[in-house]
Amino acid sequence: MSKDVKIDIQHITRVEGHGNIKIDVQSGELKECKLEIVEAPRFFEAMLKNRHYDESALITSRICGICSVGHVLGSLTASEDAFGIKISEQEKNLRCLMNIGEHYESHVLHIYFLAVPDFAGAKSVLPLVNTHKDVVVRALKLKKLGHEIGNMIGGRLIHPTAMRVKAMTKIPTPEILHDIIHRLEEAKTELKKDIGILKTFIIPNFERETEYISLYKYGEYAFLEGNIYSSDIGETSYKNYLDITNEYLVDHSTAKRAKHNRKSYMVGALARFNNNHQWLSEDAKTIAADLGLKAPCYNPYMITIAQFVELFHLADEGIKAAQSLLDNGVELENRKFTIKPGRGIGAVEVPRGILFHDYVYNDQGYIQKANCIIPTGQNLQNIEDDFRALVPTILDKSKEDISLMLEMLVRAYDPCISCSAHILNVEFE
């Protein structure tokens, strides 16, 4: 084949943050294949130095608007790990609701605003206001539900105000909890109306098996606590997260093969689904089967479908959490605890995958050293490896079609480049 294709997409649209795609094919041979990150680094780990434990979540939530609750959860978990604090059942349930609020905001934005226009052949959700008004209205309402759960439980969804080390500083009334249950049930009904549309999506037929990494807790579709699970090597303690992520960084800078014998791994909804699908709620399982999502799934374009399935599971989890709060009564917890010097690690699942916060505190509760490893950073090499596998198989298509398929692939991962910029040395040859 003697095909030359040069693709240079500046500032990929409909993703969080700034990234460019560069592809150069000469005489059918892939010469250059890059996903460039051009976002300005913001230096959060440096900002955390000498800040008090009560500010670590406040600061890190500003790493990313769309994952802000996730950063708060990762941050609180790390501080609690350092101080040896166990949180109450009530706190777990309230955090579970905040996490659901964030996943609704994020997954709905991704599915309806970023991905659907691709499948509908539109440039954005705006023209769909005319052609698919009911879908757009539904999407706005579902996204708003996420914000409203955030407001009711945490004071606000984006950069919540009431989430603190050990316990929330605000509690919901029974009316609010009833309202949340009612609205999550309604959300499931509304989401079901769009199954038909999702079925019309022509998902590119592309598969590349990779290593899938997620949080893991036997018996749960884990989001808020657990160990790390790799589809290649099984379970690893969350304390040893550097064994997973470091290997990956070393792999980049020295070109040595990692012991997993993989260059990259995937995190996010599809990785969670592949590793933990047996613990999805019954409804979510039914929807997955209906939409043709079966574990293990090796098609990254299916991430969007996995997110849709998760929305059902999360609604069911939220209903359970709110019901448990109603059954047991909610009261404001006393936040007293003892500060201990030392290191703490938080591992949680956020919409785009597993997130790690790692802090070292002094005896006054001030941070000496911090490290945050963000899901998109972990996915970038995997996206690029997908490019390498995909491009040679689609060279017969027009340049526009190739560009669109690559952009769609990047968007499928739902990357949050604004988060990842400050943490990772992304270097593709």
Binding site: R42, A46, M47, G65, H147, H159
Partner: protein
């Protein structure tokens, strides 16, 4: 009259403010699209515009190489609005400015500190002229709509210029100083309905100072609640590093 064309741009930010812009009720969105035409919004649409009347900018300037892009936007826009604390006052980005460049580069990229271009974080108004701002980290969606509509109609933005404490008292909150926390409410611009102290937190100043802050009143508070001057100033560091009244350099 044709609808003004509005374009969104972002620099160093978390994009939380743009997400708040998208957090509209369906009616609010349709209503807004009646008065403005959104021509560029990378978060949500693929189109890129060459001309626009109103530029809405999120984020701080942290690299010299971003300045020409900002200047180009300024040249094209009739009205330029700073969206959120990062753009308005430097926000959380400017917290790193308390360290030297070497310090923060080495803390984050120990193996290659100079790999990425960076410099101190600045508010947009330190680089180009800003015609209006929408404060907050993040912004308030309703306030966003209000300010944009006012500006389209040729009116003043219509932001409050009294302290958060007033809204806080109206909400009948117990002052968090009584609970052993610190709060910047006495000198910070209201308009958020005292969001943080009303929801279990304290005000850390994300909406910036009011026009005539009584910074001396903070001294009385320090005495009354047995706080040190250092502790008090430490809270101002979170969002207000760029403010010359608080941190004269």
């Amino acid at each position: 009259m044709s609808k003004p064309k509005v374009a969104f741009f972002d620099f160093a930010s978390c994009e939380g403010c743009q997400l708040c812009v998208l957090d509209l009720h369906p009616e609010q969105l349709l209503d807004l699209l009646n008065v403005i035409d959104i021509v560029e919004f990378r978060e949500a649409i693929s189109e890129k515009a060459d001309t626009f009347d109103i530029a809405i900018i999120e984020g701080s300037i942290t690299r010299e190489s971003d300045i020409p892009r900002l200047q180009k936007i300024r040249d094209k826009a009739k009205i330029l609005i700073a969206l959120g604390a990062c753009a308005h006052i430097g926000g959380i980005n400017a917290l790193k400015n308390f360290q030297t460049k070497d310090e923060y580069q080495e803390a984050v990229y120990p193996t290659a500190p100079q790999k990425y271009e960076t410099s101190h974080a600045r508010a947009i108004s330190e680089v180009v002229q800003v015609d209006a701002f929408i404060p907050g980290c993040p912004i308030d969606t309703n306030e966003f709509i209000k300010v944009v509509k006012n500006l389209v109609l040729g009116k003043k933005p219509g932001l409050p210029d009294y302290p958060v404490c007033m809204e806080c008292k109206k909400n009948e909150n117990v002052c968090v100083y009584e609970l052993g926390m610190q709060c910047l409410g006495p000198v910070i611009r209201a308009g958020c309905d005292a969001r943080c102290p009303s929801n279990g937190g304290y005000c850390f100043g994300c909406r910036g100072l009011i026009t005539e802050p009584n910074l001396h009143s903070q001294k009385d508070i320090i005495q009354k609640y047995n706080l040190t001057y250092e502790k008090m100033m430490d809270k101002f560091k979170l969002f207000l590093e760029r403010n010359k009244e608080v941190f004269p350099k």
